[in-house]
């Protein structure tokens, strides 16, 4: 039951992009097409879950016992950077077209505030290891969901035509704002 609440909260109510403002840069950059959004979502899912697991273990079994918690930021970001490198290498071998499509956005997962944010939030919310994993997966799903929604809308907008000054980021942000408003309606579910 607990896990269901964690999932619903992460995907709909406290959506990592639309409510917590994490992961905006790739959100605005990658959401132009549905296909790249799915690819990005998958990569983020993998990195986010692994990163949360590794940082959780490091935090609880190394940093806290040694009273080195102030090194949290450095350790966490190095873990994430390494994981992204590994994902890049794997993706190059396994699916070169996806690797090409994601382009610069793949290494940018390192600077995706959502990944580091979720790792830190797992510690802050005092989740245990299993809850942390569920939390990470759920947030990655929430991220992908927001990405897909925005990509779908933007693909339509391309056909309709937007005022010149609003093209690109501004209209993406305004649409995101409306999506965020819509998602606020989920808040009363539980």
């Amino acid at each position: 039951m607990e896990y269901i609440i964690i999932i619903i909260a992460a995907v709909f109510i406290n959506n990592i992009v639309l409510a917590q403002f994490l992961g905006i840069c790739p959100f605005v950059g990658v959401s132009k097409q549905i296909s790249t959004s799915i690819g990005m979502g998958g990569a983020v899912l993998f990195v986010m879950t692994l990163a949360t697991m590794v940082t959780y273990l490091l935090m609880h079994y190394v940093l806290m016992p040694l009273e080195l918690t102030f090194l949290r930021t450095i350790v966490f970001i190095l873990v994430i950077a390494s994981l992204v490198q590994i994902v890049e290498i794997i993706l190059k071998k396994v699916s070169p077209p996806l690797y090409q499509a994601l382009g610069i956005y793949l290494p940018l997962i390192t600077t995706n505030c959502a990944v580091l944010g979720v790792a830190i939030l797992t510690i802050q919310n005092n989740y245990n290891f299993l809850e942390g994993i569920v939390f990470a997966i759920a947030n990655a799903i929430g991220f992908t969901l927001a990405l897909l929604l925005l990509a779908g809308i933007r693909e339509h907008l391309d056909l309709v035509g937007t005022p010149k000054r609003m093209q690109g980021a501004p209209i993406a942000l305004i649409v995101a704002g409306i999506l965020s408003l819509a998602f606020m309606g989920f808040v009363g579910i539980v």
Binding site: I74, Q124, M166, L173, G177
Partner: protein
């Protein structure tokens, strides 16, 4: 380019938030008031300045294949330093900015500047560049924070100007307002840019 241009480009022409679209996460996350936006801008500027300085100094000592991890360690160290200093000497701002302080380390602005500029140019230019971009970032965040605070809370810098008991347009201090506010500000800046 001369140093004056180096500095001012960060303000409007290459404003990190409005034009380069970097550092959007904190721009949306902490701008519930002008003061919070300003505080975050200052903290980020400090990190930007120090990391540009150190990375520019060390650029010939870092083998290029490990430059990204090295930059990350340098940047993360200064972020941790800012985190500790704020917790000790500016606790209210520290708890307002919360999660976004450690997130400065993944602020695309800082890493992008290190990679694109500081690792290639001399120390003085790098410092000026860091300052310029930092000031531009602070300007953007303070502006967005001010807009959201005025419309959403009916106050500016904590000074209420709406009569007691009336709410502002609350949506502006909530999530949707951040997106919409930033979106329209970028449109305004685009107008500015063309002129």
């Amino acid at each position: 380019m001369n140093q004056l241009q180096n500095f001012t480009k960060g303000l409007i022409k290459e404003n990190p938030v409005f034009i380069l679209l970097l550092g959007l996460c904190p721009a949306l996350g902490v701008t519930t008031s002008a003061f919070n936006g300003f505080g975050m801008g200052i903290a980020t500027t400090f990190v930007l300045l120090m990391s540009n300085l150190i990375i520019s100094l060390l650029k010939n000592f870092i083998p290029s294949s490990v430059r990204i991890p090295s930059f990350i360690v340098v940047i993360a160290s200064f972020v941790t330093a800012v985190d500790l200093i704020m917790a000790a000497y500016a606790p209210d701002l520290h708890s307002q900015l919360g999660l976004f302080i450690p997130l400065i380390v993944v602020n695309c602005v800082v890493l992008a500047r290190a990679e694109a500029f500081a690792s290639k140019k001399e120390v003085f230019s790098s410092i000026i560049d860091g300052l310029g971009i930092g000031v531009g970032f602070t300007f953007a965040l303070t502006l967005l924070g001010a807009v959201r605070e005025i419309l959403g809370s009916g106050s500016l810098l904590g000074i209420q100007f709406l009569p007691q008991g009336t709410d502002g347009i609350i949506v502006f201090i909530l999530a949707p307002g951040a997106f919409i506010g930033l979106g329209y500000l970028i449109v305004l800046m685009n107008l500015f840019k063309k002129n």
